[in-house]
């Protein structure tokens, strides 16, 4: 796939906790399920698997590429083929997470590259189905988190 057909999602979050704490939320399956997915299975070492079940039949499957404790995690990212799952095959995209201490906070920067740019109308039915399940599963927690 050429660059012209992929795009990048970048997000930055300031977290009032040290990088060591934030790191655990990426490497401890129990903590990961507090914010992403219903069940997680992973082997946090280069080449190790990273599988997150979304709780609605969707399964994210990737592999760790790089881990620098408390600083940087890179893993490949895709969804297992299933009805309604977004057309991002396992390990077809890359997620890079960097943690930078800033006083009492951690700046978490996430960069997700290689995402296919769909043409309007493509995958329409599947996306809507998968999205509605994902949003239903996650929005209560998100509403709670942003209600302060």
């Amino acid at each position: 796939m050429t660059d012209a057909e992929t795009t990048v999602v970048e997000q930055t979050v300031r977290i009032n906790a040290p990088p060591e704490t934030v790191w655990r939320y990426w490497t401890d399956p129990e903590r990961m399920c507090a914010w992403w997915g219903a069940a997680a299975e992973f082997d946090p070492q280069p080449g190790g698997v990273c599988v997150v079940e979304m709780g609605n039949g969707g399964v994210m499957r990737g592999e760790y590429v790089e881990l620098v404790p408390h600083e940087r995690i890179v893993f490949s990212f895709g969804w297992d083929p299933s009805e309604g799952a977004p057309a991002v095959p396992p390990a077809s995209t890359l997620v890079e997470v960097t943690l930078t201490p800033d006083g009492d906070d951690t700046i978490l920067a996430l960069r997700h590259t290689g995402l296919p740019v769909a043409h309007r109308g493509e995958h329409a039915a599947g996306w809507g189905h998968f999205l509605s399940l994902l949003v239903a599963a996650s929005s209560d927690a998100a509403d709670g988190a942003s209600a302060s």
């Binding site: 795009t7 809507g128 927690a141 509403d143």
Partner: protein
Amino acid sequence: MDESLRAVADPTRRAILRLVRDGELAAGEIATHFPSISRPAVSQHLRVLSDAGLVDVRPDGNRRLYRWRREGLHDAAAFVEEMWSDSLARLKAAAEREEWPQRAAKAGRKGTRP
């Protein structure tokens, strides 16, 4: 950047999408959920969402009713943007919650909040 990705990259527009997820709302009703944002600014957000095909609009008398267009968010990048945004907000909340007792103990009377 894809139009739908640009549309969901904004937190206010994502909040509007959640509001109209389960039913139709008039522009005025949507605006009451965002007291700190001016009505013209809310209208502008609605226009961006509508132009990106993420909401359907229909007139009802002198009102305009908005509803989430589920098939609008077909773009993988827009989907992922929305997923990470919601998920990272939960990560932030969980990590800060875990840290709070230690921070409170260390801060003593400084009165820091999570």
